[in-house]
């Protein structure tokens, strides 16, 4: 049952993603990509949950590495997107004229 339920939300999320993204203008494609890239760092949640005290040795090593890499993805992704979007400004007309 759980598998079916997970598949269910997967299919719905895919359709939702299609609907959301097809409306984004091409001006914003780079920030969109880097923001969604940051979201794909959601693996971090799984990696954190997998870092149990009961785990030792190789499992713990793999888990910790996953935490490091996913954190780079999440933090770097959101920060760089914010830096980019900060530059998208609408200039007051008339300044130059």
């Amino acid at each position: 049952m759980t598998a079916v339920y997970l598949l269910f939300i997967f299919v719905l999320a895919i359709f939702l993603g299609f609907e959301l993204i097809s409306k984004v203008p091409s001006t914003l494609h780079t920030p969109l990509m880097s923001a969604s890239n940051a979201i794909s760092g959601i693996t971090l949640i799984g990696a954190l949950a997998a870092t149990q005290t009961s785990h030792h040795g190789f499992t713990a090593l793999l888990g910790t590495l996953a935490v490091v890499l996913a954190t780079i993805n999440v933090v770097g992704g959101y920060a760089v997107t914010d830096r980019m979007l900060h530059m998208f400004k609408k200039k007051d007309k008339g300044g130059a004229q």
Binding site: I14, P25, H29, S40, A66, G76, K91
Partner: protein
Amino acid sequence: MSLGQVGINFVYVISAGLFVFGLKLLGSPATARRGNLLSAAGMLIAIVATLLAQGLDYRWIVIGMLVGGVLGLAGAYFVKMTAMPEMVALFNGFGGLASLLLAWSEYHQNPAMAPALALVAALSVFIGGVTFTGSMVAFGKLAGKIPQQAVVFKGQHLINGGILLAAVGSGLLFCLTPASAIGYLVFVLVILVALGFGVTSTIPIGGADMPVVISLLNSYSGLAACAAGFVISNNILIVAGALVGASGIILTQIMCKAMNRSLANVLFSGFGTTTAKTDGGEGPAGEIKPASAEDVYYILEAADSVAFVPGYGLAVAQAQHVVKELGDLLEANGTEVVYAIHPVAGRMPGHMNVLLAEANVSYDQLVEMDDINPRMETIDVCVVIGANDVVNPAAVFEETSPIYGMPIIETFRAKTVIVLKRSMNPGFAGIENALFYRENTRMYFGDAKASVQALVAEFKGGN
């Protein structure tokens, strides 16, 4: 499900909502920054909620997040805007590798997986592995650390097909006996095959096709997270991964359409490796008319409307700031200035928009291809900066051309076209550009930045 677990899942619902709403706000320049922050807030509360669960080993978590956070922030703040495509590729690759490691760690801890779960685990490490090495190759190509050209060799498709078959075979074998030593061996084999496939499937794709590859890899990284979510039965991983997977696929589709090519053609054809000849041996008619900075100055000075058409050359020359300076001088002179941007100009979707935004160009001056083309006749001067194939009239007129049918910015219909170019070398696709030989075209040779600087100097001297 314990009460704590229910609470955590409830927080996940909220963060999924924030991801969706954030992506929606990313659809307009005015709200995009807020959208990104909302999405980040969704991630933050999901992280905090997860950390409240019992039995976590905080020592490793703190170390891991500190190291990752510092590296991520450093990358994000020190990268140059022109280097954005390779930065995104790099982050993307890390996300893929994280998914691979997560699935591996889960399998290492509980090897006795049900066959269906084992299949998902194999899929997860496979997609994660391909995302990682594929992104690293893309990073290398974009950063110029490895040759940008498409690398093709005989039997490449056979080898790739063989690798895929090996992946499917070992994946299935793994599902049968995940808990055995053989199972573990085959699992490692799947990882190695995936890492190899990421390389062999990305090297045949050349520089100007990078927007497609980056979008596709972005999609993979989402799907990898999604598959990892199935492995550990975590719904937020599945929802967020699916959102990213879908968005990457849409972007890939948009990029392919903007080049009038199928995804299969981009991935497998090794486009741009052979220098295409114009069939019939005619070549473009007419002659090249070079112009000096002074000539260009007089043309621009007299124009009522000017459209800049930037391409990858603008990024290479880092000319975005001087172009904006020239644009301001033109506006001060009473000229209407717009920036016409082709969807695949540059090395990633929207690459040019980011560069011009960095130079402080107002986003309502950035015009899309479909908006500029209908009024191209009314534009006095088109200034093409470091763009080639996306303004090549062969796409409209020559049915034999490899780029025939690709939508272009139809600069040739403007009253005058000024092309800034280093030399007469053909562009990425290796196709002669008839635009350079047209009656209304002037070629202004030189490095894009130096050339535009010379124009700025002319304007300042002339006033």
